[in-house]
Symmetry: C2
Subunit: 261 residues, 2 copies
């Protein structure tokens, strides 16, 4: 994110890993960061973002227009807006995960497999798809979303950007976005396979299995791709998936664990 | 463990990671594995070890003599015994963690620091100490143990191998060993600094903090070094510690998390 260096401050809206990445980058460059987060974001995300030294501004996801609010704040404060997914440099940065997937797949001798991604606005998915198209064309991205918030899957099927009926209502808060990105959608339309959808219960079960077998902490929204890999038959013998995001409140994690207790 | 290849089968006693490593190695070599585990081992460890295809034989840690029982089973079954720590090849294998520490410390420009290890019989600690003595002599191992089971710390202070008063009674089950190893103790006497001790509550707090900030799953016995790094002042500005072992039951993990909920 080279523009960070030139900015008086940076501003982002996101409830999750993007917010913390922006806050951390701003701190490393010694500039101010303000993050617009939905008021229903997990407490741990708000606390972690503040711990990186950023100002957190909360808004009501159901009643306030994030984009309008963000535009006004950027204007008033003269900060540089860093969008969570519809930004070529963010997509390029997230695409480094695709470079790693290509490298590790080559080491493992895997030349063809679906690559399931946890998908919100499509930044990570588009970045990975671009990297794989260049480095490992036999690996094909398939986005994974929570049921009821499968705007990308439906948009890919319809050939146009469609929105979701609701703004909230899934435990996978990290990847609840209103519609596919303007920049990310055409990339995924060109490079991705059909989108997958999992239930909240399947995402929680994947959180529990990642705890029990991988010994990593995943948030539900970061576990949907693993859930699809585990619970959707017919994907083939080799399935690659991203496990992306561990910003989970202890109470939610305990609910997931009660499954394996 | 080259002897595994020649064995008709392998046999180990351990409640934790060692048991699973032996079971996995045996499966990779297509030979039988039997593991002698204390009957109070966490259910997840017993289940995971069986999942690797090993036979699990339970014994009573307070009433039965593990060594005698093990010797009889080895004799009856003509298997090769793989000790959890008092084996030069096990120590060498665990010492590869020390090679990684030396490499990563060099990359980070760290030439002098204490290296806190989670210590049971001392295999991991001795292996790391040997590797560091060769590759990074400014990095010095200090063993960390649970209160009441600090046989290594007391033995290092006394200059002779001392045992613990009790066999059970700490949540750090992975590293409750009766006394320092015959092979490991002289290595640590020569190369390690004073041993550290933490309480079960501190270990649980470290489990919770690793969940909240590192997003990894640690068992209490695998978190004692992190606990010492966090809660023992005076170790210096740079402290390296091992986070070793994630075989924790969901119920114990939930107890640790109730701290940060």
């Amino acid at each position: 994110m080279p523009q960070v260096v030139r900015a008086r401050g940076v501003f982002a809206f996101s409830s999750g890993n993007h917010a913390q990445a922006v806050a951390l980058a701003a701190r490393m460059h010694g500039i101010a960061a303000a993050i617009l987060m939905p008021s229903d974001a997990p407490a741990v995300k708000i606390a972690n973002t503040r711990a990186y030294g950023a100002e957190v501004i909360l808004y009501d996801r159901t009643r306030e227009d994030r984009d309008a609010l963000g535009a006004r704040l950027v204007d008033e404060r003269r900060m540089t807006l860093i969008r969570p997914y519809d930004d070529p440099q963010v997509i390029a940065g997230q695409g480094t995960a695709g470079l790693e997937i290509a490298e590790q797949a080559a080491e493992a001798g895997i030349t063809a497999a679906p690559v399931l991604t946890c998908c919100g606005g499509g930044g990570l998915s588009a970045g990975i798809a671009l990297a794989l198209a260049d480095r490992a064309p036999g690996l094909k991205v398939q986005t994974t979303e929570p049921a009821g918030f499968d705007d990308m899957a439906r948009s890919l099927a319809a050939g146009e950007r469609l929105g979701n009926a609701a703004a909230t209502g899934s435990i996978c808060d990290a990847i609840l976005t209103p519609r596919p990105g303007e920049i990310t959608f055409p990339i995924l339309q060109r490079l991705a396979g059909p989108g997958l959808v999992v239930t909240d219960a399947e995402a929680l079960r994947a959180v529990a299995l990642a705890f029990a077998h991988l010994r990593i902490v995943l948030e539900p929204g970061g576990a949907v791709a693993l859930a699809a890999a585990l619970f959707r038959p017919g994907l083939g013998d080799v399935v690659i998936c991203t496990a992306s995001g561990g910003n989970v409140d202890a109470t939610v994690f305990a609910v997931a664990l009660s499954d394996v207790a």
